[in-house]
């Protein structure tokens, strides 16, 4: 299977017949000898390998950072790949200057990746430089030397130098990006679009790859693969009668920043901060999260509570299944090999609906959950008209807490009812002991998260004190 992949690497045109499944990180270091991109973990946790991907849409190139250790080479077709080498100017850039000034580099190994992410944050048009924006850019990076304070302090220098003239054009104007960026759109436009892989059953269908590469990184480079992300049409979010349709390849970042989604899940951005780093949010797809069937998939749990439906397509036609009945057992799906998930349908909730998502992991942010929980309620004066409740980490599948939901529906929220609901939930769940916690802990945590979430949703009817009278 030799498919030619054509893209621009920094200022250089590349055409390669390498296996499309090999990792960009390996391509950069082993073939291009671009040693500024570092390997720290090979699983998207440390950010040392961060690069920027530029995508052409409507004549404009949009840039976003990703971890090159989880992204297949084949997906670069028609794109601009920018490494630290491609950001270097004769003098230090404002980002580089800020890090030098603050003493925010020690051993230096994580530094190029951090420079790349911070630069990417400045390349977002209209983005404002703030402590939060700097921390967001640093969210997918581990630095074991500095303790981060000096890195965060780069904010002041960035503000001074860039003065919120963010976006690629503004940076180019000030000479903060190499001049070759000006011609990239034009050059990308000349790359013919890749032939679409249609109806081919491959060993690996790679979407965002953020989980698949961790599980299968040895096998992928030796196997036939399909790079799903070349199918742009599966990235759209649209409103259909009563539903919001989310293309299966919509990335977490696209999902969380879309106005339709923000309307129905107003706190989605807050949840994202718990869920994944910026780089991973740029790669991980909603469809991938569902198909991966991890019992602790954060987005899946949220979508279960939202009562999402899935559109599955094979060569012949499509069918729709509710997400709540999609999981048949550990990593077992109601899906045939020839079916591909194309669309996720989220019912537009009634106006009075409120949604809450919570997650506890060893590290608060950007860690895999011990237990996660999502709640959707429609209520009137504490009377629960409709409820969706799902939890992860407590069963072999992302679990729709069906019995707990039926129990709660039609009840008026009170401490006693919640205790009864928790008792029902304890019968529904079956956590195991693993690296993310003991089975007892997960049971306790599931209880606590239900209490916390309902106190949050019903502050007038519930308080923490009444649950712990005996303390």
């Amino acid at each position: 299977m030799s498919i030619s992949t054509q893209f621009i690497l920094n200022d250089q045109d590349i055409q390669t017949n390498f296996h499309p499944g090999i990792l960009i990180l390996d391509f950069l270091r082993q073939n291009e000898k671009l040693m500024g991109t570092k390997e720290g973990c090979r699983e998207g946790d440390c950010g040392a390998c961060t690069v920027i991907i530029g995508e052409l849409a409507n004549g404009k190139v949009t840039y976003k950072p990703v971890t090159s250790c989880l992204m297949p080479l084949g997906e670069l077709h028609g794109k601009h790949l920018v490494t630290i080498e491609g950001l270097n100017l004769p003098e230090l850039s404002p980002v580089q200057e800020a890090i030098v000034e603050e003493g925010a580099t020690q051993c230096g190994f994580c530094t190029p990746g951090i420079v790349v992410s911070l630069t990417a944050s400045l390349m977002e048009k209209g983005s404002e430089i703030s402590r939060d924006s700097v921390m967001r850019a640093l969210s997918g990076h581990l630095c074991r030397c500095t303790g981060y304070r000096s890195l965060i302090a780069s904010e002041t220098h960035l503000l001074n130098a860039v003065d919120n003239a963010t976006g690629t054009d503004a940076l180019l104007e000030k000479g903060f990006l190499p001049g070759y960026f000006r011609k990239i759109a034009e050059r990308l436009n000349k790359i013919p679009s890749s032939s679409k892989p249609d109806g081919v059953v491959e060993d690996f269908l790679i979407a965002g790859g953020t989980d698949l590469y961790i599980q299968e990184n040895k096998a992928i480079p030796d196997s036939p693969v399909t790079i799903l992300n070349l199918r742009q049409e599966l990235k759209e979010i649209t409103r259909k009668n009563g539903y919001i349709s989310v293309g299966a390849l919509t990335s977490f970042e696209e999902f969380a920043s879309h106005s339709d989604i923000l309307e129905i899940i107003p706190e989605i951005e807050e949840y994202m901060f718990l869920i994944a780093s910026w780089q991973i949010r740029n790669r991980a797809t909603i469809g991938g999260n569902i198909i991966n069937a991890s019992p602790i998939g954060d987005m899946t749990i949220l979508l279960l509570a939202m009562n999402a439906h899935l559109v599955l397509q094979n060569g012949i036609g499509t069918r729709t299944v509710p997400l709540t009945s999609f999981y048949k057992g550990y990593k077992q799906l109601d899906k045939t090999n020839s079916e591909v998930l194309t669309e996720i349908l989220i019912p537009v909730p009634a106006k009075k609906t409120r949604i809450h998502f919570d997650k506890v992991s060893k590290r608060k942010c950007l860690d895999i959950a011990s237990v996660n929980l999502a709640v959707r309620v429609e209520e009137e004066d504490g009377f629960i008209e409709e409820v969706g409740l799902a939890a992860g980490g407590i069963a072999p599948i992302p679990l729709h807490l069906k019995k707990t939901c039926s129990f709660l529906k039609g009840q008026i929220v009170s401490r006693e009812i919640m205790e009864d609901a928790i008792a029902v939930m304890q019968e529904e769940i079956s956590p195991i002991t693993d690296i993310r916690g003991s089975r007892e802990y997960k049971r306790l945590l599931a209880r606590q998260l239900v209490i916390k979430s309902f106190i949050r949703l019903f502050p007038k009817r519930l308080s923490a004190e009444e649950f712990y009278e005996k303390y």
């Binding site: 580089q96 230096g108 969210s139 581990l142 981060y148 304070r149 590290r363 860690d367 079956s430």
Partner: protein, 771 residues
């Protein structure tokens, strides 16, 4: 002065061992580590691996031409296991192939059979079975047995401390290049080039001078590359020796985590006695160190645990004992603090227990027992100054401990499900390698005829800013611009027999050696200037801003003139100098001596907020007064303080190292071993420096800074317990670290755990771990 490497780092142009240009025909190695934690090797079959296209060789113990032994203190560690394996991941074979992927593919085809032997992971079990490395040690002061009766109050407890993975961002790596005349040059990511040189020579059966080790910089070490970089360098060297081609070995993260050792977990039993007003009269502790499978540096780590078991306090009667317990885990090793954190953790737990028993704030008990000038440590050294007291008082007053206490008490009385807590954490850390002979270093300085300078020391730049410190020291010592000074890679052909870059002493030792070398050159240059300028008294010459001054007056001669003329007059412009820390000694038979040149002290206040419903927490602030002496470079020293603090906070909170009972590492990836990220660190970190605390020994009055700040992080453990107590004053919490959200939640709600245990639901089983 800014970090001299900073610009290169930010441009991605800094070269680490495997970033160097790749020689043609370089081969790549991958390691086959034992799948079992303990067993007799019955069969090791690599015939299929050899058949993988691109595999050049599979090397085992049989292929080692010299001695299969790399133990640094005790000779108990083979490079490649032969008859027996003692931990999961222990190297058995090295596959050499045309690419890293091919080498790993080869590893995948190796199979082995073992006769299972009993696996020990608990240090107390090991101790009971007599699995002890070296000899147990005891430091004693006063008469502890007689003192118990004089105490109004005696409490006991057991501390259980977890280990800690280094997570240097750059994993272990080395590249070995065969050169003419049976020489191997190794570019290693090591804190100890000489250890690599010594061990590789032994493995290959050659003299030390046949092995050259060169290190430009390393991507973090934290102790993890003090001794454990040695096998990596040796395996690469063995591959190069065998194939005659350059061989590179880079462990990926999961290999690195599985094969290499970490900070030692400890279980420590303590007993402490005090008067009713909180004066500690007696303290006894037994440390059971989980050393892992081999000695490595464990005996030295234990020694420092013993030295720091009374932290910043004077205890008149104490018996401090410890043993290195051999278990079937990867051999645990140096990690920033080197046993000190574990020693301090226990005494802080003991004081907390006394405070609780007396119903007083812990800091009142701490304050009552702080070291004063002239107080004796249990190993016979006298504390030399009043800096412990000064740092303590300074911290409490400048950060307003009263205000903090009142604010937190008020918050806790007003909030039910969220509680705040604080703790004061003093640190008193001894500076020097506790093994006296290691306190030595050399430097080599060349002045070229254009006035530029080359400096080589035996120290390794690993992020701690050594290179910058040395350039600054050389700049000051010469009196010339820093632009003229270039710091060379660390190389065993230029500096012989160097000690590892460790013990916070690298700048002290290598900086002093650099000053001595420069003094030699300056002495020659000044003698020459006396003649050349016909002015008397060479000591009246100084160099400032590249001008040659006599009694402070410009002689009109520049640095360039002087150097060039000296060269033409055949004056030596190079010098090699040697420094050894004076006046330190230790008598192990008597367990008495003065092992430390001085102590670095400081005090921190840590504040936290705990969500008692979910067990999650935030570290709100850390406020420190730290003793830096006269700082060489505040920017660099601040980086050391903040970075050390982050690791200390991580150690007692979220860094949860887990092995199963089969000795298999469960926290085997960065996905399940979490280190502090940008959101974890407190928003409010304040650091003040103790003034008038110069060191007479450190270059230009500076003090060591690498390790001590880590131990401020321990305060987070006690701050969290303070918050937990505020929620559940009725409960007692076991002193088990790290205090993960799981431990917190389980401790806060034991009633529900009882209920949950009663629920006898069938539990499903997962076939594999999931993400």
């Amino acid at each position: 002065m800014k970090n001299i490497d900073a610009a290169l780092h930010t441009r991605g142009e800094s070269e680490y061992a495997d970033d160097l240009p790749q020689p043609a025909e370089m081969l790549y190695a991958a390691v086959y580590g034992s799948p079992e934690a303990h067993g007799k090797v019955l069969k090791l079959d690599f015939s299929e691996a050899n058949k993988v296209p691109g595999v050049a060789a599979v090397l085992t113990a049989k292929d080692i031409p010299g001695e299969n032994q790399i133990g640094p203190i005790i000779q108990d560690e083979p490079l490649l296991a032969k008859e027996e394996v003692h931990f999961a991941g222990q190297p058995l074979a090295v596959v050499i192939a045309s690419s890293p992927q091919t080498a790993r593919k080869g590893v995948g085809f190796i199979t082995a059979e073992f006769e299972e032997l009993p696996i020990i992971t608990d240090p107390k079990v090991a101790y009971a079975k007599g699995e002890i490395i070296g000899t147990p040690r005891t430091l004693a002061i006063g008469d502890v047995d007689a003192a118990w009766d004089k105490c109004d109050l005696v409490v006991e407890g057991t501390c259980d401390m977890g280990g800690q993975e280094h997570v240097y961002l750059e994993t272990h790596r080395a590249r070995a290049i065969p050169l003419e005349g049976n020489v191997i040059r190794i570019h290693a990511s090591t804190q100890s080039p000489y250890a690599c040189q010594r061990a590789a020579a032994k493995i290959l059966g050659v003299r030390h001078h046949r092995i050259e080790v060169d290190v430009k910089r390393i991507g973090g070490g934290f102790g993890g590359k003090e001794d454990q970089a040695t096998p990596i360098a040796c395996m690469a060297a063995l591959g190069a020796w065998y194939t005659g081609k350059p061989v590179e070995l880079v462990l990926n993260r999961s290999e690195d985590m599985r094969m290499t050792g970490k900070r030692h977990p400890y279980i420590s039993d303590f007993k402490i006695g005090a008067t009713k007003d909180g004066k500690i009269l007696a303290f006894e502790v037994n440390h059971y160190q989980n050393s892992g499978a081999t000695a490595d540096l464990s005996t030295a780590v234990l020694e420092r645990t013993l030295y720091h078991s009374t932290n910043s306090y004077f205890i008149p009667n104490a018996r401090i004992s410890g043993a290195c317990c051999r278990t079937n885990l990867p051999s645990n090793t140096a990690f920033r603090g080197f046993g000190g954190p574990q020693g301090m953790f226990v005494i802080e737990c003991a004081l907390e227990k006394i405070a609780e028993a007396l119903n007083k704030p812990k800091e009142e008990i701490q304050q009552k027992n702080l070291l004063k000038k002239g107080d004796l440590f249990p190993f016979g050294q006298r504390f030399q100054n009043n800096h412990v007291q000064r740092a303590w008082k300074n911290t409490l007053s400048s950060y307003d401990i009263e205000g903090i206490r009142n604010r937190i008490d008020r918050f806790n009385s007003e909030h039910f499900g969220t509680k705040k807590g604080y703790a004061v954490m003093p640190v008193c850390f001894g500076i020097s390698f506790t093994t006296t002979f290691m306190n030595q270093a050399s430097a080599l300085v060349h002045v070229y005829t254009d006035g530029s300078v080359s400096v080589t020391t035996g120290g390794i730049e690993m992020g701690q800013g050594l290179s910058t410190n040395i350039v600054k020291i050389a700049t000051k010592a010469f009196g010339i611009s820093s632009e003229r000074i270039k710091l060379e890679s660390t190389n065993t052909t230029r500096i012989a027999n160097m000690s590892p870059s460790a013990a916070s002493s690298t700048t002290l030792l290598n900086g002093n050696a650099t000053v001595l070398a420069i003094k030699q050159i300056l002495s020659r240059l000044k003698s020459f200037a006396v003649e050349e300028l016909n002015l008397p008294d060479k000591d009246s010459f100084t160099i400032s801003e590249e001008k040659i001054l006599h009694n402070g007056k410009d002689t009109g001669m520049t640095w360039n003139d002087l150097v060039h003329k000296a060269y033409l007059s055949r004056i030596g412009l190079s010098a090699h100098a040697f420094f050894a820390t004076p006046d330190i000694w230790f008598d192990k038979k008597k367990e008495r001596g003065e092992p430390f040149a001085y102590h670095v002290v400081g005090t921190a206040i840590v504040e936290v907020t705990l969500d008692c419903l979910s067990g999650t927490y935030d570290i709100d602030s850390v406020k420190i007064v730290h003793d830096l002496g006269r700082p060489l470079n505040r920017r660099i020293d601040m980086g050391q303080i903040e970075g050390g603090l982050a690791q200390g906070l991580g150690w007692v909170t979220l860094e949860d190292l887990q092995y199963d009972e089969k000795g298999q590492l469960l926290s085997n990836a960065l996905a399940n071993y979490k280190v502090p990220d940008v959101y974890f660190m407190p928003d409010d970190i304040q650091v003040k420096f103790l003034t008038n605390a110069d060191s007479e020994l450190g270059p230009y009055g500076s003090k060591a800074v690498g390790e001590p700040p880590l131990m401020y992080g321990i305060g987070a453990f006690f701050a969290l317990r303070h918050a937990m107590k505020a929620f559940r004053p009725d409960l007692e919490f076991p002193p088990t670290s790290p205090l993960t959200p799981e431990r917190v939640l389980m401790s806060l709600h034991p009633e529900f755990l009882e209920e949950i245990k009663e629920l006898e639901f069938p539990s499903h089983t997962l076939t594999e771990e999931t993400v």
